[in-house]
Amino acid sequence: MNEPSAKAVDFATVAARWFLGALFVYTGLEKGLDPVSFLKLVRQYDLVQTPFLLNSIAATLPWFEVFCGLLLLAGIAVRGTALTLVAVLIPFTAVVWHRALVLQGARAIPFCAVKFDCGCGIGEEFICHKLLENAGLILASLWLLGGRGRILSLRYSLSPQS
């Protein structure tokens, strides 16, 4: 890759990192500042039966997101954070997809017409839009895993060798 295009890729990667970071801070705060509403939304998925687990997910997940968002904004442990986000986003997307299928069955409407608040921090959204959005976030996180765009990072990697 020649130098100008390498630089462009680096800047694009930094922009993706900042965008992801800002988005996770925003959506995390939206949920974290109103944990009761988030608790009700998490409950709709019927993922866990134990109150402690349900409460723990609702209480900590938003702040987990905020923390990861801050790491990306600051450029700390970028690839570890990106991997964490991929590991979180993929099951979340599957769970949201499954919930949408249940709602589609109950409402007898086309899949893309299903609209609900998935607890993702941005209110009610059409499912197809949400799935595309999540696919974009997963791709952006995978892109960060590639290791480009190390500029404007406080500590890109925690490992001294990297």
């Binding site: 409950r43 402690f52 997940l61 690839r79 954070t81």
Partner: protein, 212 residues
């Protein structure tokens, strides 16, 4: 393509991020005044303790919502009954609100929404019970509930189940379940029908501004 060494470094880094971020999450929840109590069961399982009481002619008369017309109301009623509680419809709730016993404290209304919504507007004279933080309100609510003959609990209405769980909280605190009624239409239905509202603290007598 990252090398094998750097893949393990990334994995290790991810583990560190997960552990620290989870710790941050638990710590923030513990420090936040809005934080959740991790041990509390906010959605206790239904126990049909009212049982036969629901079937008496008297209870049917008090809860005409049990012979409701539309499926949404039927669904809400079913949900309330599944929790062993007694549903009450708007007409009956309104009748209780205008009953002279309400002024005497023999009828009590409990608003199970959060502080913000309560302050914005509630049924005049309703006590507040934020079921997610019951330690704030429950002690002040128990005396009037003990004295009352009937207690009507409401939240937003519709899909909101907070009124039901608040009623169960009152039951667990010693209020006889036969006294407890859940107004499934909730605050939204009450306000939409232009019924009396009060803003701010209980007993303020301040009606919300028109259009609110």
């Amino acid at each position: 393509m990252p090398s094998r060494g750097s893949i393990s470094a990334i994995l290790l880094e991810a583990v560190v991020v997960v552990v620290v971020a989870a710790g941050f999450g638990f710590a923030t929840n513990a420090l936040s005044p809005k934080g959740l109590n991790l041990e509390r069961d906010y959605f206790p399982k239904a126990t049909n303790t009212v049982g036969s009481a629901r079937q008496t002619p008297e209870s049917v008369a008090v809860h005409p919502a049990s012979t409701n017309e539309n499926s949404e109301v039927a669904e809400i009623d079913r949900r309330i009954k599944d929790k062993g509680l007694q549903p009450i419809d708007r007409a009956e709730t309104e009748k209780l609100f205008h009953d002279p016993r309400y002024q005497q404290g023999l009828l009590v209304f409990i608003d199970a929404r959060d502080d913000t919504h309560y302050t914005e507007g509630h049924v005049p004279g309703a006590y507040k019970l934020d079921r997610y933080h019951p330690e704030k309100d429950l002690p002040a609510d128990l005396n009037p509930c003990d004295f009352a003959e009937q207690v009507v609990v409401y939240c937003t209405g519709g899909e909101c189940e907070d009124a039901e769980y608040a009623a169960l909280l009152l039951r667990d605190a010693g209020v006889p379940i036969q006294k407890l009624f859940v107004y499934g239409g909730g605050f939204d239905e009450w306000a939409t029908n232009h019924l009396p509202l009060e803003q701010g603290a209980r007993g303020s007598g301040v009606a919300p501004a028109e259009g609110k």
